[in-house]
Symmetry: C2
Subunit: 157 residues, 2 copies
DNA sequence: CTTGACCTTCCCATCGTGGGAAGCCCTAGA
DNA sequence: TCTAGGGCTTCCCACGATGGGAAGGTCAAG
């Protein structure tokens, strides 16, 4: 089948399939003489695996590892569990951070009248509070987050 | 003062100050004859405001609005509260999504022995589950998330 | 006057995804 | 058989917020 069909069956976009190929998450697909990529049911299976991993928030690099383990009969479930647990810890940390933010925002919102006058505790606090210079997300201690941005979520469905 | 000092006092990097200027979050700073940017205490105040907003996860575009309202004496606190509430809802949605992911991951991890054998429920589920094709994060219904990625967090401190 | 710390601009990388252009390929219908 | 339109190819750009680093100008202390 062509890339479009594989994409539809795998639940990912054709664009992403090509991308996964270039970054080495997928091995380069066979091509027809005219250059079209050709996929099998097995490939679709892998795509679904990847999709599922993404849905659970695994970064591509981890998914690469997971796929490797999946296809390696000599793997140990210990190794797989480790990867999942590491990711889980990551998720939990982000949860803590977001929860701290949510709390702070709720406090702000609760203190604002929200009327037609200009007085606004929200702005006042944003302006004054040099804030707990420490960490809005609580004591993460070390927290050498390699590449974190605020906007986030999940892949669109 | 120069950009370095302003950055230190404002709690942001010099790099970011320049960036904020190019994207219009900050009005272009005055320059010395040699081209160095010059900042005042007022500018530092604004930087702290921005920093605080970022710490609370406000995206730059929203901070732009907040700064505008902050410096507009004819603002209404209602408007400010609206912005904060919108952001809060965003945060809450991401929290829900992350919590769903966390739950799913915990389930996976709990079912894996984590021993030296290759049998692994984690891999099996990732492989089979075409999964709740719907939405790992629960019924968001519409959910036209404009630009959401999985990896996330807060700005490093 | 030299040295080193600071400043300038410019480009690249991250992470995962989408958009779109330019151009080739393939097939169904006239 | 020709043609239209949809699918495919590659390539580049964008997002958001931030950091890294190069190449080069500036400034103040020694």
């Amino acid at each position: 089948m062509n890339i479009g069909e594989a994409a539809a069956l795998g639940g990912v976009s054709a664009k992403m399939i090509r991308h996964y190929e270039t970054i080495g998450l997928l091995t380069p697909a066979k091509r027809t003489t005219s250059g079209y990529r050709v996929y099998s049911d097995k490939d679709v299976h892998i795509l679904r695996f990847i999709k599922h991993g993404r849905t659970l928030g695994f970064p591509i690099e981890l998914i690469k590892d997971l796929v490797g383990l999946w296809q390696n009969q000599r793997r140990t479930s210990k190794r797989v569990k480790e990867l999942a647990q590491n990711h889980l810890r990551d998720v939990e940390e982000r949860l803590r951070e977001l929860q701290a933010i949510k709390q702070a925002l709720q406090d702000l919102v609760n203190h604002c009248h929200g009327d037609d006058r200009p007085d606004c505790p929200i702005l006042e606090r944003l302006a004054t509070n040099p804030d707990n210079e420490s960490d809005a997300a609580g004591k993460t201690g070390d927290s050498k987050r390699r590449h974190a941005t605020i906007r986030s979520g999940r892949p669109r469905k």
